[in-house]
Symmetry: C2
Subunit: 315 residues, 2 copies
């Protein structure tokens, strides 16, 4: 089959990549549409030392099993079911997990993929592919609310106006938390402003260490340091960026201000599909471009441009 | 009066330093005994850009007010009572606070000091000065339990066998949490082992990312990175070290493992006095040496030696 792979050195389209071979409990999925995430761009820079088919955001059609013939999205973490983390009820933190397009498992920038059947969620009938493809990153945005006590009246900041910042902001807005999004792109902030979200340009904001919660979506190694300038003493920073770089960081303010920093990764896809189905999340303005699978390397290059938000790949 | 000061460049004893002048609501305290903390050593390296009388751990005698003539220990943060943090009930995070021997207020390596009367706690009659002087750092150790849900059966690690690590370990032991302390000094680990605390030498431990809670007391900028190797996914790191250095840190594991990092500083002194009074904390083996105030610079030098635990200064 056709697939976009990273071989450890370069990204290329392979017209004859081996078909996925579903293991026990797994099913094959025909990919309809896939999305490019910053993590894909980091992998190409060496993050996770992954090689194989890239991509983990998709909507497809299950080719077998109980959802055969139905449109599906999929949770990307594939747990062993036997380790201490699985026993603890934390399958996304399985010690021996594979992760679609990120660790030990070919991803979705391909004609077909394989995932455990238990990972699949049926897409509601009325939901367009171009909306359903946001389920995975939207779930990651929703995860913030599962980890932090978001009270009405809290002063909530989102740092970053990119792919994830856009979704986090819309989720917080839907939850009526009136977030302020601080970004660097007039165009991206404009997308949010058009949805009624409060925005400010990073250059025009003076950090005052007065935010109760800062959701760090900068996609840069310096994001935590920047968040520290905005969060109040005893406040909370939700760290969302996974980057290949390391940051030089003065940790003393975390101690002195008794700040809580919470790492946040994947989230609940059922909740994501529900928000999409209810029309609580606006996705069309976030789509920068759509590329055919043959042009996947160009799609990644486009996604890496500063002005890009979500770039889609259609097999 | 006599005082040990840091003038921004060097530490010296000044025989004619100005007497403290208690402001409104403040009282003078005659210092009986003071302790050297790592923070003092960091200040001398430039941390907090403090200049003035060093020191914030003490037991003394109140010279005026409702506790006049009684032995006291004192909370070191002096709040304004008017800012947003004070209004929120977080006086230790007051925006305009002064901090004894750390920020904007002369410390306790002196014959006398001034503190708000509200900061003072009477020392129970039976408690020796050499035990009461541990109240401030012990309160900081107790603070861990105010910030983290310490459940029976949790796997709790203490990284570091120094001043604070010793106290944190004893507190956790008193709370029957059976901590494991990982350190680098056979002698310091021996002090804990003699108290029944489980210990291991850092060189003999293979981190397995399986601790529920890691209390980082290394006193080094690399402490968070080390703690990351021990904490389990969705586990908690309590960060205790305030150091002048910055660390190069790979933040991605915090996100991927969804770890919570909580900064932790000062704690409840009433609870500290109570644990000391009950004999739940053993302090004598922690005292490396006692110096007269005249030799305070030598006391700081002694406290900086790798084998030192608590060095005391007696005015």
């Amino acid at each position: 089959m056709k697939a976009c792979i990273f071989d450890g050195r370069q990204v290329r389209v392979d017209p004859a990549w081996p078909e996925p071979r579903p293991g026990p409990g797994e099913v094959a999925v025909r990919v309809l549409l896939a999305g490019v995430c910053r993590t894909d761009l980091e992998i190409v820079k060496g993050y996770m030392r992954f090689a194989g088919v890239l991509g983990h955001e998709f909507v497809g059609v299950a080719m077998e099993g109980r959802l055969a013939g139905r449109r599906v999205v999929g949770e990307i973490n594939c747990p062993c079911g036997a380790c201490d983390m699985c026993a603890r009820g934390l399958p996304t933190h399985c010690r021996r997990r594979t992760v679609l397009g990120i660790a030990g498992r070919d991803g979705c920038f391909a004609e077909r993929l394989a995932l455990p059947e238990a990972n699949l969620h049926a897409v509601p009938g009325g939901l367009a592919d171009r909306a359903a493809v946001f389920a995975e990153p939207l779930a990651a945005a929703i995860q913030v609310g599962r980890q932090v006590d978001l009270r009405p009246g809290s002063k909530v900041l989102v740092l970053g106006d990119g792919r994830l910042g856009q979704l986090v902001a819309q989720v917080l807005q839907a939850w009526q938390l009136a977030p302020l999004v601080i970004g660097k792109s007039e165009a991206k902030l404009g997308v949010l402003a058009a949805l009624g979200v409060r925005t400010a340009h990073a250059g025009a904001v003076r950090p005052a260490k007065d935010a109760d919660i800062v959701v760090e979506c900068t996609g840069t190694a310096g994001g935590l340091g920047a968040a520290m300038e905005f969060v109040r003493p005893r406040g909370t920073i939700v760290l969302k960026s996974t980057v290949a770089d390391t940051a030089g960081l003065d940790l003393a303010p975390i101690v002195v201000d008794e700040v809580t920093v919470i790492g946040s990764r994947c989230g609940p896809m059922d909740a994501a599909l529900e928000m999409l189905q209810r029309g609580q999340i606006t996705t069309e303005p976030l789509i920068t471009a759509e590329f055919p699978l043959d042009e996947a390397p160009a799609a990644l290059a486009a996604a890496a441009r500063p002005e890009a938000v979500k770039v889609l790949i259609r097999p």
